[in-house]
């Protein structure tokens, strides 16, 4: 039996340990946010600080200097992330369910094809040719959705998860007259919610952070994703700063001296903020043992 004093000591130690851990996660996040509000020269002179010596909204002002573009980018990013993830997870779920069923005679062949793309990608150029010259998806919103609609790795993860669902559940549903789609929707989907939630979150993060599709396929600025737009703004300013420093002129080029360092952090806040709010929504699905108790005696 531990004494009251020992117990109290352990509680205090635990609290201290958790506070230290919490700081490990929270302090960098706070520094990112405060740096984004720090005046550029003060940042260079004084380094990164939790409480900035001089604050400035200049980085945000420059990022949002063309609010229309930023709003477009948010809309495109949200739509492509949500729609793309939904369709992608649905397709991968249906496919993974089919190849997880022993009753499907072609499951090995289909699995082989999927595994093949997992090991050997088509490469950028053939994919680009297919998407732009054959499917006509270049510079369209659809490229954000269709491109990478199914991911072989996620598909295999889902198939493995479905395989762990007892076959007897499906058989009993069949005996009750359920068809494949009904079984998938009413039996498999609820039981596989953790797998769907995990793959959805990973897919959503992939799509939210995607800038490469815009770089390769998109020319119309209103179809840029947020990450690409932010990256381009920063690179433009770096380039303009460089050009301004080299040029010979008799005009005041103060406008061009952009705070690129604090802007990087403002970009992190602008880009990561919405995802930080989405993450807790998925958290409750990350639980195990949903099938416990679903099969009786």
């Amino acid at each position: 039996m531990r004494t009251q004093a020992e117990l109290r000591q352990q509680v205090v130690l635990n609290i201290i340990l958790w506070i230290v851990c919490l700081f490990g996660f929270i302090v960098p996040l706070v520094i990112v946010i405060t740096t984004s509000f720090t005046e550029e020269n003060s940042l260079i002179a004084n380094g990164y600080r939790i409480i900035p010596r001089e604050t400035s909204l200049e980085a945000y002002r420059l990022l949002f200097r063309a609010p229309g573009k930023m709003i477009d980018a948010y809309i495109v990013t949200i739509l492509q992330s949500v729609i793309g993830t939904f369709i992608s997870v649905l397709i991968m779920g249906l496919c993974a369910y089919a190849i997880s069923r022993k009753a499907f005679r072609m499951r090995r062949t289909v699995s082989l094809f999927i595994l093949f793309t997992f090991l050997f990608g088509g490469g950028l150029v053939p994919t680009y040719i297919l998407n732009t010259q054959y499917l006509g998806l270049g510079d369209t919103f659809l490229i954000h959705i269709v491109h990478n609609l199914a991911n072989a790795f996620y598909l295999i993860v889902m198939r493995t998860f479905f395989k762990n669902i007892p076959e007897s559940l499906i058989e009993s549903a069949k005996m009750d007259g359920g068809g494949e789609f009904l079984i998938f929707a009413r039996i498999i989907f609820p039981l596989a919610m953790p797998a769907f939630a995990t793959i959805s979150l990973l897919g959503l993060l992939d799509r939210w952070n995607n800038w490469f599709t815009s770089l390769v396929y998109i020319r119309d600025e209103s179809l840029y994703t947020l990450q690409f737009l932010l990256q381009r703004i920063l690179r433009d300013f770096e380039f303009i700063n460089a050009i301004a420093a080299e040029s010979v002129t008799n005009i005041d080029i103060q406008l061009f001296q952009a705070p690129t360092e604090s802007m990087r952090y403002a970009m992190v806040v602008v880009a990561a903020g919405p995802m930080l709010m989405v993450f807790p929504l998925f958290q409750r699905y990350f639980v195990r043992g949903l099938t416990v108790g679903s099969v009786k005696g």
Binding site: P126, R232, V248, Q257
Partner: protein, 529 residues
């Protein structure tokens, strides 16, 4: 193999074969017949798609009908950071591209070796002879590889003359201009920073410090490597140079074309020693090595550098120039007696191998390079009068909403140097003098003519060595430039350069340079300008 597996394999092979056949079917089109309607695809760099871009393109296309009948164009603007990737992807996908800008981020010799560009001589002679009449042959020479022209290099400023930059108020009060000019005039066989010049710089910084107005000393990031033309072309890295160099000899001195290892030259070592000395004395910022962009203090704030080097340009013909930079008056004074004229094909315009209509493309390129197409060129660059610029007088305009060159937020305004011959561009409020181009022309005439013009180093045989050398440079050189030179460390650095294959690189450079000199009939010994 089971039946099922065999079927799968057969299906896969069929799919691959069908795809290969489908991709292989391309169509080659020619625009030689002038009655045929063609649309050119044009890839250029610039600030991205601007608000009035489509409207200006519509007007430019209407204008083009008068110059090159039955021809329209579609232009895509890609900002420099993304340009190389976009071009490479279009080439790999064999997309139609009739005119393409070539940027400093693309190796010219490498692209030519890959077959990215069409040779231009025959096309120019047949369809656009005006190009060779108006663009100087010395500039076109810079674009030749094995005698063939693949690019029309940017016709702008092609000389470099080192200048010292400082705050104007401090300059007026504390700078010993007469003493400086005497030091600059010291005769040396080849371009280099002399010990006397270092002394004069140190004296000025010390004077400022004694007067209580000193800033953060010297910024050693431009022009500081001992002068001598960088022979290894390619994307510039932050060192501004590569280990293989040859000196640039001044008029009256015999040229020695031996390729040297930059880092074994006494001038380089003297420079690093001087930086270490200045760091001890506080003329090099203590935190310089840790700064993401050490050039960020090249301004005249209280924290700014006292002095730094960059190009000297003085179209007004005074003893020094005064300009406004970041709301502060700023001065440039010459730090070398001669400009050095070195035209390069670092950027310019080309006709890619995937061009469907090279004959029409060269005619449009001629408009961008010659006086006959000046209105078309200026419309593409500056946009519509009253909306994007106002005319001050013939040949001079004032741009609206921006100055210098358009940015992503400007309603319209492309970059004149990316589209054609800058000599034909209208002057704007950013240009100091009406005689700007005459001044540049005079500088080109005055300067040391580079025997390296047209020498385009081909890195193909030394790709691995270059990668290793760059890795070694990135590990050490920045520290040496920031004042952290030590003999032992330097010996270790030279040893690593040796291991990385610097001698192979120098041998390769020497071989290619000798071949180049032979091709332009410059003797290896006894050459004097």
């Amino acid at each position: 193999m089971t039946n099922r597996l065999r079927k799968s394999a057969t299906l896969l092979i069929c799919l691959v074969a069908v795809s290969a056949l489908a991709f292989a079917t391309g169509d080659a089109e020619s625009g030689a017949d002038s009655s045929e309607e063609v649309q050119l695809q044009w890839l250029a760099t610039g600030p991205g798609v601007q608000r009035d871009f489509d409207e200006v393109m519509g007007i430019a296309n209407e204008m083009l009908a008068d110059y090159v009948p039955n021809t329209t164009f579609e232009m895509e603007i890609v900002p420099p950071p993304d340009y190389r990737q976009r071009f490479d992807l279009m080439m790999a996908a064999s997309e139609q591209l009739d005119i393409a800008w070539k940027g400093w981020m693309q190796g010219y010799a490498e692209e030519v070796n890959k077959g990215s560009y069409l040779p231009l001589d025959d096309l120019i002679d047949q369809y656009a002879p005006a190009i060779k009449e108006e663009v100087p042959s010395w500039l076109l020479t810079a674009g030749r590889i094995d005698g063939e022209l693949y690019i029309i290099p940017k016709f702008e400023v092609h000389y470099w003359q080192m200048g010292l930059h400082t705050d104007n108020a401090k300059f007026e009060q504390y700078f010993d201009l007469e003493g400086w000019m005497e030091t600059v005039a010291i005769d040396t066989p080849y371009n280099t920073v002399t010990p006397d010049l270092y002394d004069a710089m140190e004296e000025y910084m010390q004077t400022l410090r004694d007067a209580g107005v000193g800033g953060s000393g010297f910024s050693p990031w431009v022009f500081t490597m001992p002068r001598g033309e960088d022979l290894v072309k390619g994307p510039p890295n932050w060192t501004y140079t590569m280990p293989a160099v040859a000196n640039v000899y001044r008029p009256g001195y015999e040229w020695d074309f031996t390729v040297l290892n930059t880092y074994e030259r006494p001038e380089t070592i003297a420079f690093f020693e001087k930086m270490a000395e200045w760091r001890e004395e506080g003329f090099i910022r203590e935190d310089m090595l840790s700064l993401a962009n050490p050039r960020q203090f090249e301004n005249t704030d209280a924290e700014g550098y006292d002095i730094w080097f960059h190009n000297y340009v003085n179209p007004l013909g005074t003893d020094y120039t005064v300009e406004t930079r970041w709301s502060q008056l700023h001065t440039r004074v010459a730090a070398e007696p001669f400009p050095f004229v070195q035209p390069t094909p670092n950027d310019g315009n080309t006709i890619p191998r995937t061009a469907a209509n090279p004959e029409r493309a060269i005619q449009v390129m001629a408009l961008m390079q010659t006086e006959a197409g000046a209105d078309f060129y200026n419309t593409l660059v500056w946009g519509i009068e009253g909306r994007h610029y106002n005319e001050v007088r013939p040949g001079r305009i004032e741009t609206i909403d921006y100055a210098g060159q358009g940015n992503a937020d400007s309603p319209y305004g492309l970059w004149k140097w990316a589209l054609g011959n800058v000599w034909n561009a209208w002057l704007t409020q950013a240009d100091q003098s009406d005689d700007l181009f005459e001044y540049y022309e005079a500088q080109h005439q005055l300067g040391i003519e580079s025997p390296f013009t047209g020498f385009n180093f081909d890195t193909t045989n030394v790709v691995n060595e270059l990668a290793q050398i760059r890795s070694v440079l990135s590990e050490y050189v920045r520290a040496f430039m920031s004042g952290y030179y030590e003999e032992d460390l330097y010996a270790e650095f030279l040893e690593k350069l040796d291991l990385a294959g610097v001698d192979t690189l120098i041998d390769e450079t020497q071989g290619q340079l000798d071949a180049h000199l032979a091709s332009i009939n410059i003797p290896k010994t006894g050459y004097i300008q």
